[in-house]
Symmetry: C2
Subunit: 339 residues, 2 copies
């Protein structure tokens, strides 16, 4: 359930697909992404030395800015100056919420590395990392409120509540290997799908989409986010570490039960008897990963993710061809991460 993979250093096939999207988007998309980056750097540096030191590590050290990209792609063609400013605010806000959730996740997981660099919690301790996450979270709202669009604030608020609900669900369900598939999927939608959904909705709103189109784009985002998380959870089991940038079975060791394990337990009675709390070492986790893989559960989980991506693509509203192509490329990029 960790989404650390997404941010790992090795360039993946998915990253190449996203770069193709940005190239195809031309100078305007590039300029909007640059403005988002500048604003994020300015925010990281504009709230005192402590935030600058620790938020810069999180905010401005990169990541592939998938959520900001979705904001701009969902907005479509050539917004005017005011619309561009609104979209940049939205892109910054979703990335801030995402960053805040990563900082808190790292605190909860006592994670040492993120994007190949020390996490805030590793560099500064739990107390400063928790406060830093709170501040990034607050700044996300401040950023949108400044723009004065209540509908935008509403979309972000819904996503932030959903994300926190999903986080709480994950922590509540920790170590419980008997969590039902439906509950796992709901948790993924809340924890990851909701912010992708908000990114697309904010883009659609800023681009002046009609309500039905905005809803359809939001649903696309929700599904892409769900698929993203499903594949991330497969990658945690499959590795390889040189590609994901982290050891296999990280989720198992912190008690996060994901679809591969749920499915594998139905297929392997001996696996079903293993209590997660008895796993202590990376070696223990790797052995369970191998057992999960041997059941064929990874392929089933991957199929499920691909079906969600297919639904996402099928549900796209009528759009100009260039916009549709770009969104399809993002969908392909999410899948390619796994390929």
């Amino acid at each position: 359930m960790s989404d650390a993979t997404e941010l790992s250093p090795p360039p993946s096939a998915g990253a190449a697909a996203l770069e193709a999207v940005v190239r195809a988007g031309g100078t305007q998309l590039g300029a909007l992404l640059d403005r988002t980056e500048e604003r994020l750097v300015a925010l990281a540096g504009g709230h005192g030395a402590t935030l600058a030191r620790h938020a810069t590590a999180t905010i401005s050290a990169g990541g592939k800015r998938l959520r900001p990209l979705l904001v701009f792609l969902a907005a479509g063609e050539a917004p005017d100056g005011a619309a561009q400013a609104r979209l940049v605010r939205a892109a910054v806000a979703v990335e801030l919420i995402h960053s805040a959730s990563l900082v808190h996740d790292d605190v909860l997981d006592a994670a040492a590395l993120r994007r190949g660099a020390p996490t805030v919690v590793a560099a500064a301790g739990r107390t400063i990392a928790t406060a830093t996450g709170d501040l990034l979270f607050s700044r996300a709202f401040a950023e949108l409120v400044e723009g004065g669009e209540l509908a935008d604030v509403r979309a972000l608020s819904a996503a932030a509540s959903a994300l926190a609900t999903g986080e709480l669900m994950q922590r509540t369900d920790a170590w419980d290997a008997q969590v039902p598939v439906e509950r796992y999927l709901r948790r993924c939608e809340l924890k990851t799908g909701s912010l992708f959904e908000a990114a697309c909705r904010l883009g659609a709103l800023g681009g002046g989409a009609a309500a039905a189109e905005a809803d359809a784009l939001a649903l696309f985002g929700r599904r892409i986010g769900l698929a993203f998380q499903l594949l991330d959870d497969v990658l945690d089991v499959s590795g390889p570490p040189e590609r994901t940038g982290k050891a296999r079975g990280t989720d198992l060791l912190d008690g996060t039960v994901t679809l591969p394990l749920i499915l594998a337990r139905e297929r392997d009675a001996q696996l079903a008897r293993i209590a997660l709390r008895t796993l202590r070492t990376a070696q223990d986790a790797e052995e369970v990963c191998d057992r999960i893989a041997a059941t064929g559960a990874l392929a089933v989980a991957k199929e499920r993710a691909l079906a969600v991506v297919a639904d996402a693509r099928a549900g796209l509203p009528p759009l100009p061809p260039a916009q549709r192509d770009a969104l399809e490329l993002v969908a392909a990029g999410v899948v390619e991460r796994y390929a």
Copy 2:
């Protein structure tokens, strides 16, 4: 710097003053506070079993609802139905932000008790407590956004950012006994003053106040909040525990440097040489509290707080006598906590 005292079980003189305010406010004020309470209970119960279990402990176990009270008092007389609904939302939102900050504070301080009951972190662990705080925080925004008043969301957003900035400042400055008075005061304004300020501004906005009056009421709130924190920090040193509900010197043990220590170090060279990190036991902390008290620093800190309250009262805008009396009573209640 902990504001645990505020929520401690023993009824204080301050509580009596606040009860007098509520009585004087008549049925309307009582009804608004009741609606706030009902909504808080409904929210605690409406987001899954985990939140219900842990948020109920924090949200619905009481506290004296000082911030909601300020919302209603700043609003003034007889708002109509729509205005009442807006004010209740605002009161709920500020109390949720306050609750979220308490839950996170308790995580950071590894506190065992709050309002005489086990803290979320003590009952459920760090991970669930952190996620619970995040969710309460998100719900505060959702509550205001639902009301559709952008100015209200803006006021809450400013307070949430300030609160997080103050929290980060406190954790950054931890163990640094040489923190300047001005920086300490700024931290108190951010961490405590900002939410009192937002409560008053939200009340003023909901009550239809003109901009200048809203600003003046917001400043009143900010000052009352600052004084509240100053006195809270004095109480941490002075006790007595049977009145505050916690051991003396709690702040010293968690490295939080407050005005009494800052002032006392200027007066007692031997005290100035004590490194906070060397204090380990409640006994160590009590001895330092006694040394601080012996310098006369507590009286000076208290005087400073009383001067801030006097400024707050002097800066009140022209108001109907009943409203003014009620706000003055709150100011008196904040001071009486110490008396």
